[in-house]
Symmetry: C2
Subunit: 308 residues, 2 copies
């Protein structure tokens, strides 16, 4: 009996319970926070501390408003770490608010480095650091994103840590930005580079497949190129797909069916601006607009996820 | 007249002044700190705070011991962020100690993400975040490393921020770990992938070439594969090469001459464990061993850098 329940099992339970495949992306921009978060932020402390407090309140409010339609949050580490130590504290606070709302926490930092450094990243994300005064707990994320450019040896410590802590490692395979084609689609002798990455994801995850048939090594695949999904699912039959790019970046849920062919928990649809900034287009209360947008995405995605 | 002096100009001045091309790599492992740093660490605070304080003292002691033989420090962000908010504070403190010792600060985080997120990383590394209570200053690094897997659009905000702040962006081209060959050396139709990355580095840097003939877009090239250096220098005549892998990873300075063919400030030799952990093999005082190791590397690297 494993000491910890694998990520895929926990995710599958939540997906079924909430009839949802939606991940709430939190990329807080201090210049575009919900007004209530700024008004209620701490009046004391440094500018960095007050800004970070406003960021934490903004994220907590978004979780309160939209979380019940979602199964996880995806926290964009760049948006927290630009505020230094107070930003890193706000990251922990936001992760705690997400857990309290029953959501899984995906730390989106796209880390990747040589093996010794990858172990340090793993300690910070899902493990703990060993030191002279006792262990120092990391963020305690349920999953994280990783950049595979450095190769399999750079990912192995991340995958091992994920497996040991019942977490998941989502490797970039084909990202959602326009410039991705210049490298990720380069034709290697046998196949495009993203197919090489997909094969590596499948191999790295082979030893971690649980009762759900899903592994602890997932894949980030942009929803902006739905034409690639069928082939990528074929190459990674056990991987959970994390699908950014729906909404603001132009992807639609209707094109995502191949990602769900391995089951309703086999893919996650992430949306950030289209939920948190919904009020910018619709007007009215940010929380109400976010709740409405998240529920609409949940229903649309579930029709695709449950139908396949 | 530019408001800020370009990184390459500042580096060239330091290299000439110190007759050095050495970068002191700081990858602090809380379980292997210098004994004096642990003994003098704060006795109060949380375990994370006390550990982070010991890390900052360790790094400061290493800078005091070895810094005068070097021109820059390379701070491994993973090793600080695994200690959470206190670790991020220790990172800032270590950067301050390096600046006080006249060293440039290279933030080694290998960040890379879609353009909107890349802008957030740039704010944290070399710029400032705009928020409701005023600007929040980032780390203020002189340079940083970046992962180019997402393509040119993901790097452009990083390069623009580097240029505007007189900093440099070092893109991964060919890393020093054994697994790097599986992707970075893949044969695309015309050339290996690392050559495609090299061409992108050259293009991204073209608009930033200063009086030294060097650009604000550098390249991380592992010293473990010296056979690639000549071709990579040909493809990137204006890039500063950041060369990890000397010492513990098996690279030698003698093989690095092609990197210096564009001048003594055109390449930087980074060493971490071989300096900071020199006492583990040699015995004796860690500071004395680090000073001796750094000076030996300075002399060996300068013979190569100045001779070409």
């Amino acid at each position: 009996v494993p000491a910890v329940q694998p990520f895929a099992d926990r995710l599958a339970g939540l997906v079924a319970e909430r009839s949802s495949s939606v991940v709430l992306g939190l990329d807080p921009d201090p210049a575009a926070l919900w007004p209530g978060a700024v008004e209620s932020a701490a009046a004391k402390g440094s500018v960095a501390e007050r800004t970070a407090d406003a960021v934490a309140r903004h994220c907590t409010a978004a979780i309160d408003a939209a979380g019940s339609a979602c199964v996880a949050v995806k926290l964009q580490l760049a948006c927290f770490e630009r505020l230094g130590a107070p930003g890193w504290a706000a990251l922990g606070e936001t992760a705690g608010a997400a857990r309290a709302a029953g959501l899984l926490v995906i730390a989106d930092g796209k880390r990747g480095d040589v093996p010794v450094t990858a172990r340090a990243y793993a300690q910070g994300l899902v493990g703990e650091a060993v030191g002279p005064f006792g262990p120092v707990a990391g963020l305690g994320a349920d999953a994280f994103t990783a950049n595979p450019l450095l190769g399999a040896d750079s990912l192995e410590p991340l995958v091992a840590a994920a497996r040991d802590h019942g977490a998941a490692c989502f490797c970039l395979v084909r990202t959602s930005n326009p410039g991705a084609d210049a490298f990720q689609d380069v034709a290697a002798p046998d196949a495009p580079l993203h197919e090489k990455l997909a094969r590596m994801v499948d191999e790295l995850g082979a030893e971690t497949i649980g009762a759900t048939g899903l592994s602890a090594v997932g894949a980030v695949v942009g929803a902006t190129r739905p034409g690639l999904l069928e082939r990528l699912r074929e190459l990674m039959p056990h991987a959970i797909f994390l699908l950014p790019g729906v909404g603001a970046q132009g992807g639609t849920v209707e094109g995502l069916a191949p990602a769900f062919s391995a089951g309703p928990a086999a893919a996650l649809v992430t949306a950030s601006r289209s939920i948190v900034d919904a009020h910018v287009e619709s007007g009215g209360d940010p929380a109400a607009a976010a709740a409405k947008s998240a529920e609409a995405l949940r229903a649309a995605a579930w029709a695709v996820a449950d139908g396949s």
